[in-house]
Symmetry: C2
Amino acid sequence: MTILTRPILEINLDNLIANYKLLQQIAPKAEAAAVVKDDAYGIGAVLVAQTLYEQAKCRCFFVAHGVEGAKIRKVVPDARIFVLQGIGEDSLEDFVSARLIPVISSPQMFEFWKQHRISGIKPAIQIETGLNRLGFREADLTQMSKEDLYEFSVVLSHLACADEKDHFMNQHQLDMFVYLKDTYFPKSEATLSASDGTFLGQDYQFDIVRLGAAMYGINTAPYRENQMMPVVKVQAPVLEIASLPKGEFVGYSATYRATSNRKIAIVSIGYGDGIPRSLSNTGKVFFNMCDKLHEARILGRISMDNIICDVTDIDNLQTGDMADIISEYYTLDDIARDAQTISYEVLSRLGKNPRYLRKIKYPENSGNF
Amino acid sequence: MTILTRPILEINLDNLIANYKLLQQIAPKAEAAAVVKDDAYGIGAVLVAQTLYEQAKCRCFFVAHGVEGAKIRKVVPDARIFVLQGIGEDSLEDFVSARLIPVISSPQMFEFWKQHRISGIKPAIQIETGLNRLGFREADLTQMSKEDLYEFSVVLSHLACADEKDHFMNQHQLDMFVYLKDTYFPKSEATLSASDGTFLGQDYQFDIVRLGAAMYGINTAPYRENQMMPVVKVQAPVLEIASLPKGEFVGYSATYRATSNRKIAIVSIGYGDGIPRSLSNTGKVFFNMCDKLHEARILGRISMDNIICDVTDIDNLQTGDMADIISEYYTLDDIARDAQTISYEVLSRLGKNPRYLRKIKYPENSGNF
C-alpha cells in the first residue's frame, strides 16, 4: 500500500529537441527560431531556451514581453531575442540590459523607438496581413520615409487560419505579405509562419520560422496525424477509493448522480493544477495497470485539488496508483477537444503551477546543465 | 502618447484584511482560518499568510499539499497549518520540517500515519457527508478503536452545495456531520464550512470556518449581493488602435467578421495571462476615461498575448490607455459567468503568471514586510 499526494509534471527534453530538429527538416531553408513566450507555454522559458541553445544550436528566440526576454538572456548569450509585443516605457530597461530586439507594431511605437534607440539593435516590424491584430497597415507604410523603412532588419506577420490547410485566408495573407515585403522591405529578412504555417509548405517559410506549439508536442496541423513527440506528461495519484451507492451525488452542486452502485477513485489533481474545469462530467483519466489500459470517466465537477472518476470496472486499483491525466492515450489535443478549447491554452496553464512535482528528463549528454 | 506593453495585476491587502475581519464577524464564535492552498488561489500564499498573521492575528491556515504548507511556515511561525490532501511518502519530509497537521482522509492514510507519526502533531480527520470526495465513510469509522478515534484533534467535512441557500444537500450534510461528530468524535474540534457554508449561518460554523474564496473577493453567496471587497484588479494597456473595414475578419480562425466599419483596440493581455479563452466573442473590457465608463466587447478569439475589442464608440482612446479587465465594473464573478465557469477557476489562473507587473497595496502600518 502506497500513499502519495502530489501530481507530477514530466518534461521530456529529448522529445523537445527531436521535435525542433524535425521541424527544422520540414523548413530546411529557414532559420528555426524557438518561441518561448508565456514561460515557454508554461514549460519553463529558461529551461527550454538553454536546452535548444546548447543541444540544438538554436540562435533565435521569440518572446512576448521584454521581461521574458531578459529572463532567458543569460542562457542564450549571443542569440537574437525578438519581443513580439514590442517595446514601451514599462520594458525599455529590459531591452537595454538584455539587448532585445523589439517587434515594432505601430507608428506610435516606432516614434517611441526613435526616441529611445538602442545602439547596435535593428528592430523588426510587424505588418498586418489579415489577422487584424498587431501590425502596420499599408496606409501606415506609405507614410514612412525610405530611411525609416530601411531601419528594420526583419519584417514579420502572422497567419490567422494556418491550422486549416485549405482555408482561403492562407493564400490571401501570403499574397499580401509578399506584396508588402517586396514593396516596402525588399532587403529585410522575412518571417510569416509559426508552427502551423510551417506545415503549409516552403512558400510560407521565408527566412525564419517561429516554432512554438508543435515543438511542445501539439498537433498544429490537425488535418494529418501528429508527427510530434509528447513533451509533457501529467500524472496524479489515487488518494482514495470508495463505494458510491446508487442514488448518491458526486462533487460540487451535485451534478452527477449514480444510477447504480459504483466504485470511485479520488485523484489528487484539479483545476488548481491547470486541469480545465470544463472537463467536468465529460473528460476522462487513464490507468495503465499490468500493461492493460483502463479508461475512467470523470464524475461530477472537477474541484481545485481533486478529480473524481469512475473505476467500477478496474480491479486491483489501489491508493497510490498513478492516473495518467495527460499522456499518449489522452493527449493535450484530446483534452483540449473535450474541454472545448485549444491545446495551447491547456498547455499554458499546466506548467505555471508551483505545486507539481516536476520531473525533467534531461538529454544524456547535458550534464543536467 | 504613451507606449506600454505589460498587463498589471494589482493586489489589495487592505481589502483582504477587511474581508477576513468581516467574515470573522459573520462567524463570531468560530476561529477564522485562512485557506491559502493553490498559492492562495494564485494571489501568493506567502504574501497572504504573512498579511493575515501579522495584521489580523490569524493563527490557523489550510493548504492542499505539504509542499504548500512548508512554503508558508516561516511567515506564520506558531500557527496551525492543516494539509487537506493529507500526508504521504512524497510529502512526509515537509510535514516533519514544517510541523504540518495532516487531514487524514482514508483508513489507508491513517495506517501510513501510524507508521510515521510526528511527535507533537495531532492529526485531523476528514469524514464524508455527501460530497463523495475525500473522507472516511461511517463504515470505516465503525472499524476503528476508541484509541484510534481519540487521536484526532479536529474532525472536518466539506459541503457540496453551500452556494445555494436552500439546497436540500445542506441540511442533509449538516445532520450527517453532527451525527458522526457526536458519535465518534465528541471531544474533537469540528469544521464543516468553507466561505460559502459560513454564510449559511451559525449552525454551519462550528469551531473553525475555512475562509478562502470570499476572503479573496468572490461572491460565495450569490443569492445575495456581494459584501466582499475586491482583492485583485487586472488592467492591460492598449498596444494599438486600428480601423477594421467592413467585411474583414478578426483573430484566429476568422470567427468575427465586421458588418460595418469598426475601430478596434489591441489590448496586451491574453489567455497566457490567465484570461479565459472562452470569453472569445462574448466577454468585454472597460475603459474608464475622464470618469466616463465605456464598454468594449471582445471581437474574435482571445489569443495567448492579446485581446481585440471594439472601441468604435470611444473617442479619444489612445495607445497606452489602460483597459480594465477585472475591476469593480466587471468582477471575477462577471467574468466567470461569461466564461461559463466559476470565479475560483478564473482567480486561480491569474496570479500564477510571472509576466504580470505586480502591484501590491500593502497595509499602511506594515512597513511593506
